[in-house]
Homo-oligomer: 348 residues x 2
Amino acid sequence: MNKIYNPKREDWEELLKRPTQTVSDIESTVNKIFTEVQGFGDAILLKYTQEFDGVALDAIQVTENEIRQAAASVSTELKNAIAAAKQNIEVFHKAQKTEKVEVETAPGVLCWQEKRPIQKVGLYIPGGSAPLFSTILMLAVPANIAGCTEVVLCTPPNHEGKIHPAILYTAALCGVTQIFKIGGIQAIAGMTFGTESIPQVYKIFGPGNQYVTVAKQIATKHGVAIDMPAGPSELLVMADDSANASFVAADLLSQAEHGVDSQVILVSTSRNIIDEVEKEIEKQIAQLPRKNIAEKAIANSRLIYITEIQTAIDLINEYSPEHYILCVGNEDEYLNQIINDFIIKINK
Amino acid sequence: MNKIYNPKREDWEELLKRPTQTVSDIESTVNKIFTEVQGFGDAILLKYTQEFDGVALDAIQVTENEIRQAAASVSTELKNAIAAAKQNIEVFHKAQKTEKVEVETAPGVLCWQEKRPIQKVGLYIPGGSAPLFSTILMLAVPANIAGCTEVVLCTPPNHEGKIHPAILYTAALCGVTQIFKIGGIQAIAGMTFGTESIPQVYKIFGPGNQYVTVAKQIATKHGVAIDMPAGPSELLVMADDSANASFVAADLLSQAEHGVDSQVILVSTSRNIIDEVEKEIEKQIAQLPRKNIAEKAIANSRLIYITEIQTAIDLINEYSPEHYILCVGNEDEYLNQIINDFIIKINK
């Protein structure tokens, strides 16, 4: 891993560069596929699925029968784990529901604000190397609590034209109404315009590689809303002397193994922690089933030592990671100065 | 005005077409100006201000002295009206503040969701034919309640290089921290990249013509968030037999006079109301100070008769107007079936 000590402010931009192509590099490919999907629908989805996923599908939509078979093949242990996660996510999102806000600003002038479910939403679940049923839980559970009536899911098939059983089981459990074996740019295009099989949706949620991310951004030009440009996955861990190096290494590896274009960064005010985490990563990575992926992502990653806490906070805000883990004694000092949307975890 | 009776469903798309160019028509202009502003900063802002607004500015930023002079020239009557509006808007937005949501999903696992102000926000206020100080109130008041620390405002200058005094007075009153005499695509580019004068912001708010709207959409590709693509202005009024035709006409004209590319639509289950509103529009438009603008917008507009309420609701959802006014006896039937983000007003 690259170790950097007290980088100069003028070098931050280069140092924090994400290992992705820019929108403009990918945009022409996205525009081409969007135009084709708008014009030719399912036929072109099948063509691209053959080209990109290496499988000639007969049908795009997952059948009831496939869902039943999948449910039968998921172990009871995994089902229990999924049920526990679902329960936790439900508790969290139900607590976020708000009532209608009503105010009489002047006699007879009643103003109100209320939230309505979006009727038709699309969920994108990346496929390939790991079944992200956790993402289904985190997207479909709030969609159900909100009351969305149509929840469409697209995910790429494997070389046999199949979806991982845990994906199908979780999707059915969480009230997804239709599942399609389509991935990548063509899936986002399908949900943007609608095809013979895939319904057009009003908002698309979910992570993806850089092609999916740019496709989602282009979708907004065609009147579809998106949650956010969410990929590739990235994590920044801030750790001081109080941190457990083994936990920090495990956290970094948990994102690194997402994909070869994932990026993980450790920022620390402790030289000792940087050295310890480096050793722990070497030790733990050897045992990972997804070692090959994690190793490539780790090659893109950085261990950054910064003496001053305030400088570390400034650098973290400049980078604005998708996921941010705090392993520090004084987490409030860090939390109070966050200026962007972060998904935060505090490990004590 | 165009009167249409029970249009067929297959004609809705054409009928509800907005009088705007598409993103792709405008995109190359926007990309060119974005690249130039990114490279040349203030110098290019001054060049485009001369080209589009017809004035050679010495300085981009409005001075304290200009703000003081503006405040002195706004009438007490207008100041009182602005104060009353500010008070109403404050009451409404303060009621929307939410507390931190905390949930212990499992023993020792404390999850929370909280909202933080966005530190640096940019407000775009269209210029030209009418001083939209109402828009400043609606954007800057919530920014202050949220606690945004930097609130930057861009608005185009007139041919004398000046901003309407009511704009400057309202901006200062609502805690805008810096005001710049820059409009159009170049203003959005300036707030997206930052220049020598204009600070880079994290999110841009506010309406604009179609060039500004596309510029905001392109800004999202450069890492800046936007509120929504909000222009040109549009209004749909739904009126039944219980409506007051004079009020309906006044409401339609109030949006029509926003700009020549505004679009207003009346949908009614009453042929009588359609005829009455048409007459009222002819009568009222003759007396409008902004008659020339309203007349052009009215030419783009439609009076649509639909027999069945459910069909009317479907058509309204298909169009999804920015502003929606209900002048009906049974407003709940309409309200309950809204499926998109609408700004709604009920006139009884």
